[in-house]
Symmetry: C2
């Protein structure tokens, strides 16, 4: 199968690596507005050839769009204009309502399957691409009744080839849940970095930053080119999520000041996240004392 | 050297593992108010014997206190009351002002060296203990002029044995910087977990949680028994840090709503944290394309 990948950064590159290795794609045409990225992707070997958006779309059995969500808005209709009638199109954008809306009345709407893989790192560009980035992670497929069943089936097969589990939602549900579970943590990390940078100097931060600070602030390294358009396209739900978050921060601050019992209750409630994330009872620690003894002591 | 470790959890246990392995301590006496923890630590082999607080202190050349900071307040004076005159005492608490203040006038104040290792995980108890937990991390030594030089030297040697780098501060400076760089990220994570738990159900969180959410919210799994007393003892600076953080969150929210340019500037400013944390230019990514090609493609 001939695959066109539009956008050769972290997401597009990582997908190309896996789909090539699994022979899901026999030939990959890479498209990117940045010619350095194209050269890197060719050198790194995860695309076979390059072309303009139009020529790549005309030749492809499937087109995968992995560019910032504001760019998807203008590129997706062009892609649908140029694909052969059998071809399948998907995008990997983190927002879905505005993008789906933009092609709602396109004659090739059925060829398009809106998707969102919940995976990534804070790095970007072809050199940030990683094999197996998506294995075990969730992909959201949206509004599947709006897409042709063959097209849904092909994207499901692609996501399974990447090792992903699939969740089905409306574009609106995806944007709301993603606001809280992905976009809010990014906004929180950007603000945390700014708060700390405002109060502590570089040397102190560098010296004192430990695992806890690093993991909480990691997402503040994320690219504004990618995240600005996400915050704009999902503005309504992200603002809602920030308001809920600020309310919880104020409540926690107040409890620290005036009500130790409530403070402890709020922490105990937050602790519930462990059992949810770790599954069952949260005991992902080494349980076998024998193993522990062998590994670590004496 | 005979070492008494008071508190056999993540921190005390991890230190015991390393100091035993490095033969810094030839004999370790473990003290804990939880008898199950003592049994576990004996079975895991990172302590050699156990005793009451008083008997352990009487025999020890050095006493290391690794318990929640509210407990340190009552235990530290008892330890100083019972040690031989040559012995050195340190504590691993995350706050330092209130603790130092509590023994300011103790006749053995010079034997005590207030310390804070900036390392840990969100887990607790002896089974959470890990070798090399401290390697490459920073420890803060406070108000060193208040301690005898032999005692400072011994604690420096211990921290170096653990592989730690040492930063010197007053207890007040440590509490302020730690509020922003360690305590605030914990408070932010507790509130983030509560905000998400308030708005999304377990299944959605479990399904959609990706690396970004997990790392940002990880600290919300931390123990209220440990963190409650830290928030209380460092209340003034933690409340300040939360106020600064809430201000930055509001500013970021407003920029998303009304001012895209400012939003982009705020993200670009937050991105500076990358160069600080990664050192130099933040290029910790694989730089060698040849290596990349060999590892990942074809």
């Amino acid at each position: 199968m001939k695959l066109a990948v539009v956008g050769l950064g972290l997401i597009g590159g990582s997908i190309a690596i896996d789909l090539k290795k699994a022979k899901f794609a026999t030939e990959i045409i890479g498209v990117d507005s940045n010619s350095e990225h194209i050269e890197q992707a060719l050198r790194l070997g995860f695309i076979d050839q390059t072309g303009t958006l139009e020529t790549a779309c005309k030749e492809a059995d499937m087109v995968l769009i992995a560019i910032p969500v504001d760019k998807i808005l203008s590129v997706l209709p062009i892609v649908l204009d140029h694909i052969p009638s059998h071809a399948t199109v998907t995008d990997m954008g983190s927002t879905k309502r505005v993008i789906s809306e933009a092609v709602k009345n396109h004659p090739r709407r059925k060829n398009y399957v809106p998707a969102h893989p919940m995976a990534g790192t804070e790095n970007s560009g072809p050199i940030a691409a990683l094999p197996d980035l998506f294995r075990g992670k969730i992909a959201i497929l949206c509004d599947q009744d709006e897409s042709g069943p063959q097209h849904v089936a092909l994207i499901e097969k692609m996501l399974q080839t990447l090792g992903m589990k699939i969740a089905y939602m409306t574009a609106d549900e995806q944007d709301h849940s993603t606001a809280f579970i992905s976009h809010l943590p990014h906004a929180a990390a950007f603000a945390l970095a700014n708060a700390v940078l405002a109060k502590e100097n570089r040397e102190i931060i560098f010296d004192l930053a430990s695992g806890g600070f690093n993991s909480t602030v990691r997402l503040a390294k994320s690219s504004p080119e990618m995240w600005g358009p996400i915050f704009q396209q999902n503005k309504e739900y992200i603002v809602e999520s920030l308001e809920v978050y600020i309310r919880h921060l104020k409540e926690f601050k107040k409890s620290i000041e005036n009500d130790e019992n409530q403070m402890n209750e709020l922490m105990a409630n937050a602790n519930r996240i462990r059992s949810i994330l770790d599954g069952s009872n949260g005991s992902s620690l080494i349980q076998n004392e024998e193993t522990f003894i062998k590994l670590y002591t004496k």
